[in-house]
């Protein structure tokens, strides 16, 4: 066998391996990979976000995220720059997928840091159609996952809550890209089986080697409202220190968000 044939064969084997792995992935494995792809890219990351609500309200903020050195815990820091009245307002979240998240907020005009007790994560994020859970991710253990369809490019996963009384949906279906494992669309159904909410990744680019959602849209089909998030200045592995995610940096924002 020539070297060339050998290479070709090796490549073939590799390709086959990849495709067979893809075929065999369980629903749980797919959602686990999707979870990592969408919320855990890099060791840390940052982005500036411009949020536009369909009623004309806007919010601008910067996000810092840092993954725990081990496990799925994460920290988020959200710093608002606009509109003028919420300038310098900041949120801090210590996400613990196994338990309750810790949340703080800083209101500069009241010179106030307040801790928010654990509660419903399916509440609006600053009045938009996004929920806290959309921003920080829903724990995989809360739903059962079922692979209902595999298309050429996507896995279609149906997710059913284990505790239906705690959420407003009866199920939601996610379309996950086979290659990047980024969820491209999620549709939420109520107890009557009516579609009432849709979240979509409307623009994806690769940044620092990570497929990244650059624009996401959520529609509330009952209220008829819509929110678009546009991401800029996305960067990964910028060396965020764990100490930035403390109360001290709520009151005095880190350079990483003010610059």
């Amino acid at each position: 066998m020539s070297m060339r044939t050998l290479l070709l064969a090796g490549c073939l084997v590799a390709c086959l391996a990849v495709s067979s792995v893809a075929e065999e992935l369980s629903a749980d494995a797919i959602v686990a990979k999707a979870n990592l792809a969408s919320y855990y890219a890099g060791k840390d990351g940052t982005a500036k976000v411009r949020m536009e609500l369909s009623d004309g309200r806007t919010r601008e903020f910067a996000i810092l995220r840092r993954n725990a050195d081990a496990g799925l815990d994460q920290r988020f820091y959200v710093y608002f720059t606009a509109p003028a009245d919420v300038r310098k307002m900041a949120y801090l979240v210590h996400k613990k997928p196994g338990g309750n998240d810790d949340r703080w907020l800083f209101l500069p005009a009241l010179n106030l840091v307040k801790r928010i007790a654990p509660g419903d994560k399916r509440t609006s994020f600053v009045g938009s159609d996004f929920l806290y859970e959309d921003v920080s991710g829903r724990s995989l253990a809360e739903d059962t996952h079922e692979l209902v369809e595999t298309t050429d490019s996507q896995y279609v996963i149906k997710n059913t809550p284990k505790a239906p009384a705690t959420v407003e949906f009866a199920s939601y279906t996610v379309w996950i890209d086979k290659v990047s494992f980024l969820p491209r669309k999620a549709e939420y159904f109520d107890k009557r089986g009516t579609l009432y909410r849709r979240v979509a990744a409307t623009k994806v680019e690769t940044v620092d080697g990570h497929p990244t959602v650059m624009e996401s849209t959520v529609e509330d089909l009952i209220a008829g409202s819509k929110t678009v998030n546009r991401f800029t200045k996305v960067a990964y592995d910028i060396g965020l220190k764990d100490r930035l995610f403390t109360e001290r940096f709520l009151r005095r924002p880190p350079r990483e968000v003010t610059r």
Partner: protein, 1013 residues
């Protein structure tokens, strides 16, 4: 002469043709009935494009407001009132059942429990009568879903303890955002926590929970008002097994209105036929032969059927007003036929031939009957001039019905008598005047004859009494209270009235109005205003600490004002950008240095940080302005002993002390402050707060809610400081006072904005936006009244107007009222004005007609006397009785006019004839008080007694109509038979001066006799 008999002669010649035409008409118009559509909505008293209605809907849209079915649950027996575990469990279950309402596979509504088990709700009434009515009126008790199959209940807007937001303090000084009743309490002690949370929230106290802790209200928003009756039934069905401890009351204007609509149909189906039966029985009593009285009954029936058929056929909905058409039309339609029958009866004896008798009677009565009909038509047609569409439809259709009844009397009655009543039976009927019917008529005859004598002998006394009555009535009229309240259309024991009473006793009020305030978007501060505000604030802040930079800053503001504020296109954003740059300049390197210092220190690792290490880190910073560095080092000497976090805190506090003086930061704050939308500016919010306090002070207002209540509550909970475990009483009191002070509007626009944004992100998203718009330019004060009386609503509107005139708002605010309670005020006002002007115009029209009819101004005026007296007396009576001038009362004025002039026309017409025969009024009196007076009396008795079934109606407007019809008849009967002859007696010299020359009455009689022969 021939002309007036043309119609009748035709009918006598071709009775079958007339009959066929009538049958064809009844069939034709009657076939329209299945197309009937009902409209129970008093809102439709206003035209669709009526400004206030358009505004009402705009407000509902702007603030996402809906009509509510209000369910009040009251527990008076449990020691903890409504706040006990068992009751709260029931309320929670009910809430989730309502939220889960859906159409089952067979279209039957069902509710689904947490486990997913569906329970169908059978809402079809048990009684066969109710079911038959539902079929007849096309009322589907399962109509609870819109065209897409969605529930009539707007789930996400439901207001109940299990689904409204609550902010409360939680462990470790944290803040908890959850539903008021996130979990159903398992013990009564836990139930008290729900109570305290609810009472601590100004938005819920008095609205969701009663201040006495004995009741909770669930507000069920519905997509359309027309769902409210069925939704109320769902609630009744779901709560029927609740036992006696928890009373369930259902109220709210939509339910009242919708229930009224449904019961109105029942009323139509019962009281109009009952009235028909009563009239029939009375006629039977007077005329003794069913065959004879069938004719007038048929006239009434045919006119009612044709009129309603026409109304339905023309595409009009049957509204509260038009449902009364039958009741109004019946007495009027019967009246003409009774006149004919009454005379026919007496004249038949003379002629002995029905055709001749009919010709005689019709010839005799043609003119008065035409005129009485024309005047009645004028009275009702004048309603077409009112600005209220259902009243216009009502007026014109009754006018049509009256015209038809007249035509039928002229044609159908003779044709009917020709065809169906044999001469033989008539001969038997009239042969023996002393037979059975002699007794009552003899009694009536004797009474009337005595009355006639009295009017002649005691004319002055009668007129004197009449004048006294007028005086009494005028005073009464001046006491009239214009007022209406759809809930009061029910009897006091009706469940709706009971619920209204109970719930308004416990709560801030179940009647809703919205006061909206809109800031003119162009009425923001001018550039110069802003410049002035900035200078003032800058001086206050920097005068002592930084006098020289302050001068530079103010000079910069002046310069920018001169440069930028003169142009028309001045943009505040531009100004502020330029000022920010200038401020940064002024802050200069000194502030930049402090900024760098702070940032550097912030990033130091506090763990094991020493004073020396901190200074070393600072020393490493290059290019730092030396003066600031030295100042820092000097100030830091005080903290040499500190380490770690404490040291960092002090170092940062030191930096902050200098950074707080930043002009750039100051400009940033002023930008927020001066460009904030109206309802984020503390000055405007404080005005709103004062206005709200003022409205709260109005007696009939039980409760008001605004965005300020939400803002203050959130600001309080955010800033609240939990007390440490060990605290002296004095310290605790101080802390308490401090916390209490937090229950206030924050004093900066930025702070307001930051609190509001927390509210925007509550569990129940957008709940805030019922009270303020998303752009914070419009605010809504939800005013709850304990009374739905228009008069009370009107008083609130006037008080607010006065307050705002005396206390002008800090910026231009457009004020508007909306809400069903307010809409009622508007149409009521239109109704009163409309009815009054239509009364005046029809009075004038009728007066002119009377002058033409009698060819004498004096007779014209005389003819108006009884009706004027009647109308005056009726409204005087309403004033004295304290009965509100409401919708049915307003409509009665036209009926009064139409009915009471009739008697006068008949009386005067005959009086002239008798005078010509007798030559003197004194001699005419006798004949006048025999047959003509009898016809009038019969009519009066028929109509007043005929409508007594209305007095037992469960809906009060029908009772009002019944009572006043009887009163109108009695009064106008007296006015016609007492006052009119007394006036004739006193004025006979003038009245009869022209009459003698005219010999037409004799001619009439002669001609009639000739024709008959």
């Amino acid at each position: 002469m021939m002309k007036r008999l043309a119609l009748t002669n035709f009918s006598l010649r071709f009775p079958w043709v007339v009959l066929l035409v009538v049958v064809a008409m009844v069939v034709g118009l009657g076939s329209q009935f299945p197309k009937v559509a009902f409209d129970n909505d008093p809102e439709n008293m206003l035209a669709e494009d009526e400004a206030v209605r358009v505004f009402h809907h705009k407000v509902k849209e702007t603030f996402s407001l809906y009509d509510f079915v209000i369910v009040g649950i009251v527990n008076e027996r449990h020691p903890q009132g409504i706040f006990n575990a068992a009751t709260l469990q029931r309320i929670d279950t009910l809430t989730h059942q309502l939220l889960s309402l859906q159409a089952g596979p067979d279209g039957v509504p069902q509710v689904v429990d947490a486990a997913g088990v569906a329970t169908p709700l059978d809402l079809v009434p048990r009684s066969g009568f109710a079911r038959a009515l539902n079929v007849a009126f096309q009322h589907d008790p399962h109509h609870l879903f819109d065209d897409e199959g969605g529930s009539a209940i707007i789930g996400r807007e439901l207001i109940a303890p299990s689904v409204v937001d609550n902010i409360k303090q939680a462990e470790f000084g944290s803040l908890k955002l959850e539903y008021l009743m996130e979990h159903v309490p398992q013990t009564d002690a836990e139930a008290l926590v729900v109570r305290d949370d609810a009472m601590g929230n100004p938005l819920y106290k008095g609205t969701l929970v009663a201040e006495d802790g004995k009741a909770i209200c669930i507000y069920i928003p519905i997509k359309e008002k027309t769902f409210s009756y069925n939704v109320a039934n769902v609630v009744r069905e779901l709560t029927k097994g609740w036992g006696t401890e928890d009373e369930v009351h259902i109220t709210g204007l939509p339910v009242a209105e919708d229930t009224f609509g449904v019961e109105m149909l029942v009323q139509m189906a019962t009281s109009a036929p009952l009235a028909g039966v009563a009239i029939f029985l009375l006629l039977l009593l007077f005329f003794r032969r069913v065959s004879l009285i069938i004719a007038p009954m048929l006239v009434a029936l045919v006119s009612v059927v044709c009129t309603m058929g026409l109304l339905i056929g023309l595409g009009f909905d049957v509204h509260i007003m038009s449902s009364m058409i039958a009741i109004f039309l019946m007495p009027i339609a019967v009246a003409d036929a009774v006149h004919i029958l009454s005379e026919f009866f007496d004249a038949y004896r003379e002629f002995g031939d029905k055709k001749k008798t009919l010709q005689h009677v019709v010839g005799h009565l043609f003119r008065p009957m035409l005129y009485t009909s024309l005047t009645t038509i004028a009275g009702f047609a004048s309603l077409a001039t009112t600005p209220i569409p259902p009243v216009r439809v009502f007026g014109l259709h009754v006018a049509f019905g009256v015209a038809l009844a007249w035509l039928l009397t002229m044609t159908f009655v003779p044709a009917f008598i020709t065809l169906f009543i044999s001469n033989k039976s008539l001969a038997r009927l009239c042969a023996a005047p002393g037979d059975a019917d002699a007794a009552p008529q003899g009694w009536l005859d004797r009474f009337l004859r005595a009355l006639g004598g009295l009017t002649y002998r005691r004319a002055r006394l009668i007129i004197g009494i009449a004048l006294a009555v007028i005086a009494f009535s005028v005073v009464g009229v001046s006491r009239i209270q214009v007022n209406d309240n759809p809930v009061k259309w029910f009897t006091t024991r009706h469940p709706i009235r009971v619920a209204d009473r109970v719930l308004n006793d416990h709560f801030g009020g179940t009647y809703t109005a919205y006061l909206t305030l809109e800031a003119d978007p162009n009425a923001t501060l001018t550039c110069r205003d802003m410049a002035e505000a900035i200078r003032t604030r800058a001086r206050a802040r920097y005068d002592r600490v930084l006098p020289q930079p302050l001068q530079a800053f103010v000079a910069e503001v002046d310069r920018l004002e001169e440069k930028l504020c003169n142009t028309e296109t001045c943009s505040p954003t531009d100004c502020f950008t330029k000022l920010t740059e200038a401020a940064r300049e002024i802050d200069g390197r000194a502030l930049a240095a402090w900024e760098r210092l702070a940032d550097e220190i912030n990033y130091l690792e506090p763990e094991g940080l020493t004073h020396a290490a901190l200074l070393a880190a600072v020393a490493k910073l290059e290019g730092l302005e030396s003066a600031s560095r030295e100042r820092f080092l000097e100030d830091m000497t005080a903290y040499r002993e500190l380490t770690g976090e404490a040291l960092m805190d002090e170092a940062l506090a030191l930096c902050d002390h200098y950074l707080a003086l930043s002009f750039e930061e100051f400009v940033g704050q002023m930008t927020t402050e001066l460009t904030a939308p109206a309802f984020k500016r503390p000055i405007v919010l404080n005005y709103l707060q004062e206005l709200q306090r003022h409205i709260d002070g109005i007696a009939v207002v039980g409760k008001t809610s605004s965005a300020i209540d939400a803002l203050k509550k959130a600001a309080y909970e955010l800033r609240y400081q939990a007390s440490p475990v060990e605290l002296s009483d004095e310290e605790a009191a101080r802390l308490q006072a401090r916390n209490d002070a937090f229950f206030a509007i924050p004093d900066e626009a930025a702070a307001v904005g930051q609190v509001f944004i927390q509210l925007e992100g509550m569990k129940k998203r957008d709940a805030l936006f019922h009270l303020v718009t998303k752009n914070y330019q419009e605010a809504n004060i939800w005013v709850q009244l304990t009374s739905g009386d228009n008069r009370d609503m009107q008083a609130v509107v006037e008080q607010v107007e006065r307050y705002m005139a005396a206390h002008p708002p800090p910026l231009q605010l457009d004020v508007g009222w909306a809400g069903l309670t307010y809409l009622n005020v508007v149409w009521q006002d239109k109704m009163v004005r409309g009815m009054f002007s239509s009364l005046v115009s029809s009075f004038v029209v009728v007066l002119v007609m009377m002058m033409v009819l009698f060819r004498s101004p004096l007779f014209g005026l005389l003819a108006m006397a009884p009706l004027s007296l009647t109308i005056l007396f009726i409204y005087g009576l309403i004033g004295w009785m304290g009965k509100d001038y409401d919708m049915p009362v307003a409509v009665l004025s036209s009926l009064t006019l139409g009915l009471s002039v009739d008697f006068a026309i008949h009386f005067l017409e005959r009086a002239r004839e008798e005078f010509k025969l007798a030559g003197s009024w004194q001699k005419s009196c006798g004949p006048m008080f025999s047959e003509p007076a009898k016809a009038i009396s019969r009519n009066a008795i028929t109509i007043s007694i005929g409508f007594t079934p209305l007095l037992i109606a469960p809906l009060l407007p029908y009772r009002t109509v019944g009572f006043f019809l009887a009163t109108i008849m009695a009064v106008s009967w007296m006015a016609t038979l007492l006052v009119l002859p007394a006036l004739l007696t006193l004025l006979q010299k003038w009245v009869f001066r022209d009459v003698a020359g005219d010999n037409s009455p004799q001619e009439i009689t002669k001609n009639a006799k000739k024709e008959g022969a």
